[in-house]
Each structure stands twice: as structure tokens, then as C-alpha cells.
């Protein structure tokens, strides 16, 4: 049955000919794709390839110079993101979307407790029963493998890996359908990275999340994503199933990226 859903459903987010230029510099040129519920898309490329610009446009934080992004809202109606009012956009961000920043300090409030960081998202969508908020926050801390004894501590007392797991809990507590991730394992030690990736992988499958993840790490793309887009100079130069693109890369630049991976 899960599969019927996958074959028949409609796209969740559609990008059409997205471009962004800063004066004469084109940061992102003519990007189009459709993303479906439960699908994980990795955008890979080196610094300056335009992948972060693209992510900001897709998540409605940056207005495109040309093209549009449309998103199918929870009520089933597809809307062009640029036509959303500021309040509607903020509501979308608090409910149906998540955004995981590379630096957890950008996605968390560092001085308030972990429990409040998670609970805050629930209060923003109208939860007001303290006991239920705390219970749900505890559940989520457990799911991201944070010891409940640390619930009243502020994230500035947490390690990098714990902060990133807390950021993920804060994002997922409202059960979003779409999550954007910007280099979520970027600043972490390798062993901490593996644990986080494994956690993200199982949560994504369990919650049937659609994810757009920006990463320069092809191992991250291989582990998490179904599809990959390779960017260079603001353009998508190659796209396809992740294992196809990584095992049988066609473009010179993709071959260079793949051949630069150190053997494990």
C-alpha cells in the first residue's frame, strides 16, 4: 500500500526554471525539478556552485530573479511561494516545513532549555497544555537519542552532535512533510556524523519525509538520497538516481568528484 502511494501521488514541490543573479553574476541558472512525498534529493557540488542559493530559493527565503517554486500545501492546494504573504510563509515554516542549518546555533535558541527548544515549535502551532508539550518534547529527545536527564539544560552545554540532534527534534516535532537540510553533518567529527546520518536515515523513512539536502559530501548523498543533482557554476550539470550518478558518472566534473572520494 505504501507503494501505491508512491506511484500515484502528486508532486509536493516543483521548481521551474529557477535563476538568481546578482548584477552580472549568475549564482543559479535555469533549475527545474519535481520532488515527491517521501523522496530525498541531494544537491551536491563544491563551494560557490550555487547549491546554497538554490536551497534558499526553494525554501522561500530568497526571491528568484526568474522562475518559480510551487508547493502543495496541507489543504491540497498548490501555491506559488512568491505569492504567499509573510504570515503564511512563516506559518508554513513552523508547521509543514523544517530547516536544518549546518550550524545548530542558527536553528536553536542556545540560551533556553532543550525541552523549550522543542516545545516552542508546538506552542507556535497552538499547543498550550504544559504537560503534553513536555511529554512530546521528551519523546522527541528520546527519538534523537538525547538523555532525558538533559531536558532542562540549554544547548550551549551540549556537544556539537547533540546540538545537531536537538535541532532535528525541534524541526520534526510538528510533523512536517518537507525538510530542507544545509550540510547537516558539516561541522561534526566522522564518528558523530555516522550516528547522525543513521538517525536521519531512519527518521526520514519512518516519517515518509520529503527532503532536499545540500551537501558537498558524496558519501552523505549516497547514504541518504534517492536522487542527486550535481551543480557547477550555478547550473545542474548531471542528475539521476543516486547510485547511477555515483557509480556511472557521465560528466567530466562528476567523474572528478567521484574519483576524489578517499577509499574508506
Amino acid at each position: 500500500m505504501a507503494e501505491e502511494m508512491l506511484e500515484n501521488d502528486q508532486s509536493l514541490l516543483v521548481a521551474e526554471s529557477l535563476s538568481k543573479s546578482y548584477g552580472r553574476i549568475a549564482a543559479c541558472r535555469d533549475v527545474s525539478f519535481s520532488l515527491y512525498p517521501g523522496e530525498v534529493l541531494a544537491i551536491v557540488g563544491e563551494s560557490g556552485s550555487g547549491k546554497s542559493t538554490l536551497l534558499q530559493m526553494l525554501s522561500g527565503q530568497l526571491a528568484p530573479s526568474a522562475g518559480q517554486v510551487s508547493y502543495r500545501m496541507r489543504d491540497g492546494i498548490t501555491r506559488d511561494l512568491t505569492t504567499l504573504g509573510e504570515a503564511e510563509r512563516r506559518f508554513l515554516f513552523r508547521t509543514d516545513w523544517g530547516y536544518v542549518h549546518q550550524d545548530p546555533a542558527q536553528g536553536l535558541r542556545m540560551a533556553v532549555s532543550a525541552g523549550a527548544n522543542v516545545g516552542e515549535r508546538l506552542m507556535a502551532v497552538g499547543w498550550n497544555h504544559y504537560g503534553r508539550i513536555r511529554d512530546t518534547a521528551s519523546d522527541w529527545l528520546t527519538r534523537v537519542e538525547i538523555d532525558i536527564a538533559r531536558i532542562d539544560d540549554a544547548p550551549r552545554t551540549y556537544s556539537g552532535g547533540m546540538r545537531q540532534r536537538l535541532q532535528i527534534a525541534r524541526n520534526l516535532v510538528t510533523e512536517p512533510r518537507m525538510v530542507f537540510m544545509d550540510e547537516p553533518t558539516g561541522g561534526l567529527d566522522v564518528s558523530v556524523q555516522a550516528r547522525l546520518l543513521d538517525l536521519v536515515r531512519s527518521l526520514v523513512a519512518e516519517l515518509h519525509l520529503a527532503v532536499i539536502i545540500v551537501t558537498h559530501d558524496l558519501a552523505v548523498a549516497r547514504l541518504l538520497s534517492h536522487r542527486v543533482m550535481v551543480m557547477k557554476g550555478g547550473r545542474v550539470i548531471e542528475t539521476g538516481l543516486t547510485d547511477q550518478v555515483l557509480d556511472d558518472p557521465r560528466e567530466p566534473y562528476t567523474q572528478l568528484l567521484v574519483s576524489s572520494i578517499l577509499p574508506p
Partner: protein
């Protein structure tokens, strides 16, 4: 009888851009079919392109030209031109692939590695784990190892976990890349039995097997890959 796999004039070349754009022809004119309940073994020396053909049938390698017809839920889909989403659906419900080496995710218990293909197709976890246990038992993986991730297992144990994961599902097509390569005689016999059971269930299989004895036991037909050698 309607073939499960019908390949016509499939061609694959690698272009090595980092080596001055050298063209490396792999195979061309690949043409054969596989019926339900039949095991076709690909024969030919190392480097003849056997694994590449399996990868083309799985959609892991892209074709330059030709057609890879796959019977998927009653209709024939050309995998060479299918959309990524369709390829994923075909892998989920039609084609299984037992690779030469297990590519396991860190931290996932062996029993779950094996049960996963059933769970993604909607079977309850408990039932999936029970079937995974039965298969691990048949393949002589001791129960005390089932809760451990397979990363630290020996080569032969990992290969058996890989086989269990490949054979657990009820997919109508199975691709086997050297399934018996690092197994002892007892476990090779188990694999031969598993292949025979799949045939009785009508599963179409394509296998690469170097061991002559195993090849005799499982092959219904042999396709000589050297005839598809691409002209350099």
C-alpha cells in the same frame, strides 16, 4: 510465454573524461531474454562485461542505446529510458539484486538488514523479522549474531547476510552476482536450494557464477557474454 526480462541491442561505453576522454567500450548488441522460473547464467572471462550487464538490468549503469524491457506489474517498462522514480518502484517491487559485497549501514542489526526489503513493502516488522530469522538460520548464521551489525562479520558471513537479504523478498526477478563466491560447500548447497525454490515460484533469475559445479546445478541456459564484446 512472456519474458520477464527482454534485452535488445543494449550498449554500454564508459567515457573517461579524466583520462583524456578515452572511450572504454564495455558491451554492445546485448540481446537475450529470461522467462519466469528460469535461471540464465552469464558466462565469459573476467572483464567481459558480465557484472556490467547485471548493473544495466538493475538500472545502476545507464545504457547508451538499446532496450531493457522489464515486466513490472503486468506491463513492460523500458528500464533504459525510465524515470528515476519508476526505476525505484521497479527495484522495490520487481527486481532484487544480490551484489558481491554487502553494503550495510552502520549500526543496523543483522536481522533488520535482512528484514528491510519486506518492511519497505509493507509487511509488519515482527513477521518480517521472523522470516529473516528463518533464512539466517538456514544459512547457518548463529542466532547470537542476529542483533549485531554485520560490519564486523567475516567475508563469508557477510555474504550469507547479503544472500538472505536478497532472497527474502517475493520479487519476480533476481539478479545474482557471484552469490557463492566466498562460501563453504554446505552453504553453497543452501544457495543452490534457494535458487531452486525461487524457480518453482516462477522467479526469473540472471546469475554470474564462476564455480562450474554450481553453474551446472542452477543454470537453465547459458548466455556467452563474449559475443557481446564491444569492438574497441
Amino acid at each position: 510465454m512472456t519474458a520477464m526480462i527482454d534485452i535488445a541491442a543494449a550498449k554500454k561505453t564508459f567515457t573517461m573524461h579524466l583520462q583524456g576522454g578515452i572511450e572504454l567500450p564495455v558491451v554492445s548488441g546485448v540481446t537475450f531474454h529470461v522467462n519466469p522460473g528460469e535461471c540464465v547464467v552469464l558466462a565469459g572471462p573476467s572483464g567481459a562485461g558480465k557484472s556490467s550487464i547485471l548493473k544495466m538490468i538493475f538500472g545502476n549503469y545507464r545504457c547508451d542505446s538499446g532496450r531493457i524491457g522489464i515486466r513490472h506489474r503486468g506491463a513492460v517498462v523500458d528500464l533504459a529510458t525510465a524515470e528515476p522514480r519508476q526505476v525505484l518502484n521497479i527495484r522495490r517491487s520487481t527486481i532484487g539484486y544480490v551484489s558481491q559485497f554487502l553494503r550495510a549501514v552502520p549500526r543496523v542489526a543483522t536481522i533488520d538488514v535482512v528484514a528491510e526489503p519486506l518492511i519497505v513493502n509493507g509487511l509488519a516488522r515482527a513477521e518480517a523479522q521472523q522470516r529473516a530469522g528463518e533464512l539466517l538460520h538456514r544459512l547457518n548464521i548463529p542466532e547470537r549474531l542476529w542483533q549485531l551489525p554485520p560490519a564486523t562479520f567475516s567475508g563469508g558471513e557477510q555474504q550469507r547476510v547479503n544472500i538472505a537479504r536478497g532472497f527474502i523478498s517475493d520479487l519476480p526477478i533476481l539478479l545474482l552476482d557471484e552469490p557463492t563466491a566466498s562460501l563453504d560447500a554446505a552453504n553453497r548447497a543452501v544457495v543452490v536450494d534457494l535458487v531452486a525454490e525461487k524457480k518453482r515460484q516462477g522467479v526469473a533469475m540472471v546469475a554470474i557464477v564462476h564455480d562450474d559445479e554450481i553453474r551446472h546445478l542452477i543454470a537453465d541456459r547459458i548466455v556467452d557474454v563474449t559475443s557481446f564484446a564491444a569492438a574497441a
